[in-house]
Symmetry: C2
Subunit: 571 residues, 2 copies
């Protein structure tokens, strides 16, 4: 159940996929010196393995508990969270003017990976906080910055995002929570939100809810939505948490996994008046959401990497220790059997491929921060891939992890089953993977008249990787169909998911191939380099061809899906 941070791998990907040395040449990221990068990788790994990982199982078995006075976390969580805050880990990527260290997001990604691999449910509190900070940085007033950011950035206070309501899931525009002006610059918030991650807990002195709500006479749909800041405790004149605000956690969900993460039903206007403050402009709620969407979705794609890494470590460990059956006449550990090796190396190759894709996209966002418009566009294109395919990889790898454990994998005490359960949320939240595929086809493929996609495909082809030739050709064919006149809107959506998978595997395959080339010139741990070679070969020779088989589904159109009415699906 222990966690060993994959520091050599993380550093290799930062060097050869992100090119963090290049990023650190910019003044904005000059703090990211090689020594600093090493120190952060070592320190984050130590925090994650030392403080977060030992709590993973109690997080699952005990989990967050609801009481009328609030949600309590299992023993040990508060101390671990304090270690995170006191170590300054929360401040890495925030801008220096708000108390941050101004380091690249791609480097913060590594820290988030460590925390989530150690304890996925626990790490969600950090992930949500990063999103809230981002929204306030970009849309809050100077006064709001001063009041809220310092302690959100340190992690002394935590942030949440409140979008979903029972009738408004993927369709955010259907939400009904209201905000009414109080006449003093503040608003009164009323409504119920569901699926609010870390909406209530006992880790921090205040919780800052960012809430989407409708103002009076606002237009229907997404245009009528505004963003409000709703603290658990309102601040007194000294800026300290003082009076309890009228917001309460009404219950928490009984979930398949991530039991350490309280998933709250939040009542705004419960237990007194609920005061809120407008962030940005009235009607600008969705725009503020979109600001943080890239980072948030990449962070969820990263959860796929996290659970895949943890499941792989556990499976390799088990397979090396479990002696069963013989090779060449003598008993061996199951790691020596070909089909078990196939499973383990598949786990490693998929995990590394997903990590490369997420880190690469994070690096593109860093370049966007430096003003590179094309990098921003490429990141926008890659975000739905990283989120959807990354989380699909998490589920697949966790499932293989159970299989490697055999009967012991189905017994909860082993831990493999927890990864399988935890992994399953990631394809759902922060925009279901189906929504990601729709975003890819409906918005991202047509950015700059399709040029963003074309340039990615050109870069991949220019790399000259023979194993990618057939898949890139098929991606091209599918893209032409899906963006051409032959396909209508339904045809495009019908093919969107298989196409997303094809393009993800192609892009990850490209990044794996680049690592394969880097290995040949690299020095360092021979075991790591040998394993990287094996993973790259497996990815290119076995995983890439599988994705070729998706062309038919990507281009099959929608007619076959609508040949019967909905009620006939029950026949």
């Amino acid at each position: 159940m222990s966690y060993s941070p994959p520091i050599t791998e993380q550093r290799f990907v930062l060097d050869h996929v992100v090119d963090i040395a290049d990023l650190s040449k910019a003044e904005r990221f000059e703090a990211a010196t090689p020594d600093m990068v090493d120190a952060i990788l070592e320190g984050a790994g130590a925090l994650a393995s030392g403080e977060y990982a030992p709590l993973n199982r109690v997080g699952d078995t005990v989990g967050a508990k609801w009481t009328p006075d609030g949600v309590t976390m299992p023993d040990g969580f508060k101390a671990a969270y304090d270690a995170f805050v006191e170590g300054g880990w929360s401040t890495l990527a925030a801008p220096a003017e708000h108390g941050g260290q101004g380091l690249p997001f791609s480097l913060a990604t590594v820290v988030m990976e460590d925390l989530g691999t150690a304890n996925m449910g626990f790490s969600l509190v950090n992930m949500l906080n990063a999103g809230a900070i981002e929204a306030i940085v970009h849309h809050g007033s100077a006064e709001q910055h001063a009041a809220w950011l310092p302690r959100l950035v340190t992690g002394e206070w935590t942030g949440t995002m409140n979008l979903t309501e029972p009738q408004a899931g993927s369709d955010v525009g259907a939400l009904r929570t209201t905000a009414t002006p109080a006449g003093d610059g503040s608003w009164r918030i009323s409504g119920t939100k569901i699926f609010i991650t870390y909406g209530e807990h006992d880790l921090a002195d205040n919780i800052v809810h960012l809430v989407l709500a409708r103002t009076p006479d606002a237009p229907a749909g997404t245009k009528g939505i505004s963003l409000f800041l709703v603290p658990k405790f309102r601040l007194n004149d000294a800026g300290e948490p003082a009076e309890r605000n009228g917001v309460a956690c009404l219950s928490i969900e009984h979930k398949l996994g991530i039991h350490a993460s309280p998933t709250c039903v939040m009542g705004f206007g419960e237990g007194g008046e609920c005061h809120g403050w407008l962030i940005g402009e009235e009607g600008g709620g969705m725009r503020a959401m979109f600001t943080m969407m890239n980072h948030a979705r990449l962070n969820v794609g990263l959860q796929g990497v996290q659970i895949a890494e943890r499941a792989t470590q556990a499976a390799v460990d088990y397979a090396r220790g479990r002696v069963q059956s013989a090779r060449a006449g003598k008993p061996v550990a199951i790691v020596e059997h070909p089909d078990v090796r196939r499973m383990l190396i598949r786990m490693k190759a998929l995990t590394q491929g997903a990590r490369a894709l997420v880190y690469y996209a994070a690096g593109q966002l860093d370049r966007a921060t430096l003003g590179d418009a094309h990098a921003r566009a490429r990141a926008e294109l890659l975000v739905p891939l990283a989120k959807a395919w990354g989380t699909d990889v998490g589920c697949e790898v966790a499932s293989i992890g159970v299989q490697v454990h055999g009967g012991m994998g189905f017994v909860e005490e082993t831990g493999a089953a927890q990864h399988y359960r935890d992994a399953r949320i990631a394809p759902i939240y922060e925009g279901t993977n189906g929504i990601q595929a729709a975003d890819l086809i409906g918005r991202k493929m047509s950015m700059n008249g399709g040029d963003v996609f074309r340039r990615l495909l050109d870069d991949i082809r220019a790399e000259g990787v023979p194993e990618l030739a057939a898949l890139s050709e098929r991606v091209d064919v599918a893209a032409r169909y899906l963006t051409g006149n032959e396909a209508d809107a339904d045809d495009r959506l019908a093919g969107s998911y298989p196409f997303l998978t094809m393009l993800s595997v192609l892009t990850a395959g490209w990044l794996m191939a680049r690592q394969g080339k880097a290995v040949e010139a690299a020095e360092g741990d021979p075991a790591f380099l040998a394993m990287k070679r094996v993973a790259v070969r497996f990815f290119l020779e076995r995983i890439v061809p599988e994705a070729e088989g998706l062309l038919a589904a990507a281009t099959a159109g929608a007619a076959g899906l609508y040949a019967v009415d909905a009620e006939v699906l029950a026949a």
Copy 2:
């Protein structure tokens, strides 16, 4: 959470895939008249939906409980089990001379499907009992038949299979439980078995354990293993359960799913002398196991169909009721969105494909019972496909089912998560899917010098289905590689799993195509026939091409898997 038996579909597959009318022409199966088949489908569906399905959730949330006096089932299970026994459902496929109804196994398969779809964990007691009956019928003495079979056949007593020990999982030959002759024709059994399904419960008056053990001076490995009958209660002179035998359930596992099924650690020689009686010959234990293996593995493959059917029904129901977002400007249920349709029809197509494969193999076993040697060989070839691919389908479909439910799918109360958890055991037990792939490559492909496989491929090609041409060609290429001189034993095992998937999809695709042809000539419920057409098209046009992408992995060989030593996998 309700279950609606797919009677029209079951009957259609029995008619057009199994050809049960042809089976019933034989005297052995003459009881299987069309009216009898209809009555059984109706009756089993009613029992399953009326008695078993309502207990599915309490089976999950309360589950089987261990006490020092034995294992207790949740309220309602005993009454439902009594209804099963009293309805005569246990006796369907047992031979008439032992109190059975002598009906085809393929028909009993439908009954087992219904019970398991309604309540997978509960139905395991029936599944294990069928295996124990089969072993005793084929290997027990006339005296043993008379003493044990009548009440096992009715289900008044239940049977178990005891193979696994902590050090002996897939490697059964490593077991250590001992049997020592007592001098009076009986034996004394001593040892510990794990993962014993329904090893202890309060549903029946006696439990008949079939236990693999070593006799004194037996050779090492599988040849030294014998099969023993070990009752919970020994019988008195009147043949009634009387004295408690020295066998006890020491604990039950805390599992990911199928909580209604107690998974027991069994102590033989606990609480007194443990009396056992040899079944068949000394050293014949593995042979007796192999007798029941085909039926047992098909029944586990069928569990994939069960969980897929239940998950699909739940997802269709949810998607028809959940209104979210709009099409053509007005709010619609999510079933109307293209990507949700893709998911739902994929669920239906995979479920139907797996059902066709399992039923077809069951029908081949029925023909084997009638003396058809080729049908027996074909069944032997298909069993690993049905077991492994069928259970993989169960997991995939259950996972899609969670996804269709969105955030609600991750909340346990909805039920989708239970299917996802329950499904995960089936690829593991009764021979892991990796063991199935090894069996396919190592034993089944070479049966009759490869003729059994060739004849299947010829039959598929002779059907003339254009959508199967490319996959059958690739299966052929892979088969030639995997059975040829180019590949060594490791290469074969390295490609075994992808090859199993390719051949499974090809065979299921063939059986789906045959149903597609039958639909054109069939009369009946137009909604059912329309849905069948849609599922057949989806399978042939979208699922079959995916399997084409597995050729590279099937023929990639083992060298890439052994390019690093085992310890490097942790790098």
